[in-house]
Symmetry: C2
Subunit: 371 residues, 2 copies
């Protein structure tokens, strides 16, 4: 059924005014418990859901805008998005998706962002914009419109709430693991160094070498572009080194470059992992299917989305003054989350770092005898 039931209908059925119905549903304190109970049961029984548009017009939007890069071949965006979507849905909110063309001029970008701000459609913004795109969001910081950034962009300012991954730690896990397997000449193929995550992984690689007492050899560090072809290209100078200077292991700054390295190894008749051990970064969904299956540093993309979204809700909670109640029992899931998590959520720090996990598979040669 579910037709054009309005708040007036409920008010009439309950014999009260619509104001009271609204109060009851939003958990305002000043409602007689008996009245509230009666109203909520009618709401429940009739299956009344407030019109999202009307709520929005009245300044209580239940929409969250989410920005993603449109060209993203990088499939992990989807995993982040799923995390976001699940939390948004759980909270009884809706998700409005905008895709931003990375190649477009600033103009285009700002158009989208303008639209989000001026349409006043949504209550907050979650930006999943890797690389340079993110910087442009920084200016948007307004006290009444919560924004959270997810991903590897540099936190543009101390004020901008931000969720990311401990890239440096992740890189260290990879290098330590290779060391434990007996490797001493460990190469690194970096990502584009204008991106913070690339620099952090490089930094982790270097600090791990230092901690292990290994010398940093510039000949063993090649930079790529996060794509498979660039990984292939980056592998060539390493493979062309004299056998006694050639690395016995490579840590690639992402999985796609590792794919390219596998391909290059084939051309050179080098076996992975017997001749060269390999570890990637990301745990892209296909990495487990590669031949050999790719050992990699897993980023918790789904959790990244969840966490970013929770942070956003906590900011929303702060900007609205402590309301945010559940819509009767029909939204009990949100009520639960609220009761359980909110005190601590409301105290969430502005910058959150999540941990990576080393996924040990075949390409690192963990099941081979230590060299």
């Amino acid at each position: 059924m579910a037709t054009k039931l309005t708040i007036d209908d409920i008010a009439r059925l309950a014999g009260v005014s619509k104001a009271t119905v609204s109060r009851a549903m939003n958990g305002k304190p000043d409602v007689d418990p008996a009245t509230r109970e009666r109203i909520l049961s009618i709401v429940e029984k009739e299956g009344f859901k407030p019109s999202a548009t009307a709520v929005g017009l009245a300044g209580r939007s239940h929409l969250i805008s989410v920005l993603i890069p449109s060209m993203a071949s990088e499939t992990y965006i989807f995993d982040i998005l799923r995390g976001v979507a699940d939390v948004v849905t759980e909270a009884g909110y809706e998700l409005v998706l905008y895709s931003v063309n990375e190649n477009a001029q600033d103009n285009n970008r700002n158009t989208v962002i303008d639209r989000i701000l001026t349409s006043k459609l949504s209550a907050a913004l979650l930006a999943i914009l890797p690389g340079q795109l993110g910087g442009h969001i920084a200016q948007l910081y307004k006290p009444d419109f919560p924004i959270v950034m997810i991903d590897d962009s540099e936190p543009p300012s101390d004020k901008m709430p931000w969720v990311g991954v401990r890239n440096s730690e992740g890189a260290r896990k990879a290098v330590f693991h290779l060391y434990s397997l007996g490797h001493r000449r460990i190469a690194h193929v970096t990502g584009p160094l204008q991106r913070l995550c690339s620099r952090e992984r490089l930094e982790g690689y270097r600090s791990a070498l230092a901690d292990l007492g290994l010398e940093y050899d510039p000949a063993l560090v090649v930079s790529g572009e996060f794509s498979a072809p660039s990984g292939h290209a980056a592998a060539l100078p390493l493979f062309n080194l004299p056998a006694d200077q050639r690395p016995t292991a490579i840590f690639a700054a992402n999985d796609f470059m590792a794919y390219g390295i596998i391909d290059a190894a084939h051309s050179y008749h080098l076996r992975i992992p017997e001749d060269i051990a390999l570890i990637g970064f990301d745990d892209t969904s296909s990495s487990v299917h590669m031949q050999p299956s790719l050992t990699t540093v897993r980023q918790p993309f789904y959790e990244l989305g969840q966490t970013g979204c929770q942070l956003l809700f906590s900011l929303l909670e702060q900007s609205r003054s402590g309301r945010f109640q559940a819509y009767g029992k029909s939204f009990s899931s949100f009520a639960t989350m609220h009761a359980k998590d909110f005190k601590q959520v409301a105290a969430m720090p502005a910058h959150i770092y999540l941990d990576t996990e080393l996924m040990v598979r075949k390409s690192c040669g963990a099941d081979l005898p230590v060299r």
Copy 2:
């Protein structure tokens, strides 16, 4: 800037009433050209954008709801979504994303769908729901709320608008190609047969065999579940056949199963493509990176999303009575699309089939001498 500019402000600046502003912006016929020009230029100059919420409340929602499965490990959903997002954005609409849990009870599903319908937030619905999920959408057909389904679900009724792929033709391309390379014992690993796309691919396989004068051998047809492990498992009975009955080529109903088959071949010390040629289906983004790179039947996922969305807009166009104009020059992109494409778009058929494309790579052995 872009602040709280309302239609009243524009009206005041133009010295007319808000009604006239509204008419001018929506391309209503009964506005003096000079007045319209003046109003639009002011709109342009001030950068006025109507509040999306208010527009929605007034019954002119610019939101499109999109349903996707939440558990989708299947990354192609994201490609479809990008196609949808780009068309939606191009049209000056916004996209509201809902993820549906496949495993949840009907209850859960209907909750989401109910929310979409009763919140009256969006003007139309695009459902990207593979498999069984799709069936539930069928009942939703209402004349005033356009719905389009994308994907492999069976078109639930003649009335339900639907966009899909020519699965049978795609399968035929694979089999014909293998035949041209000299293969005569061609096996097929099917998807789950309760899904229409699996049955269609099987049907294409059989019809191609028939056309080529090859006998259909039930021993060469094994069913899988669209996952890599199921592909691995399905390969075993084929590899265990006596050498003279063993297939020389396998056509897998999707790429993930092909990955499993590659893995199984390793265990059996069978080389791909030298001993067994392999073709998959989908062109999942990682297939090009496999070792060997996977020859596969490409589905145009991005285009699927675009087309589905265009179909949806054409239905929207039908249900609103011939309006749908551009918002002055700021939305010129949509105006362009409108002028260029709409006549034909408005005549789009309810069911649309897109073509597949055979991507020839290494795994089929196309660069080997014909057997």
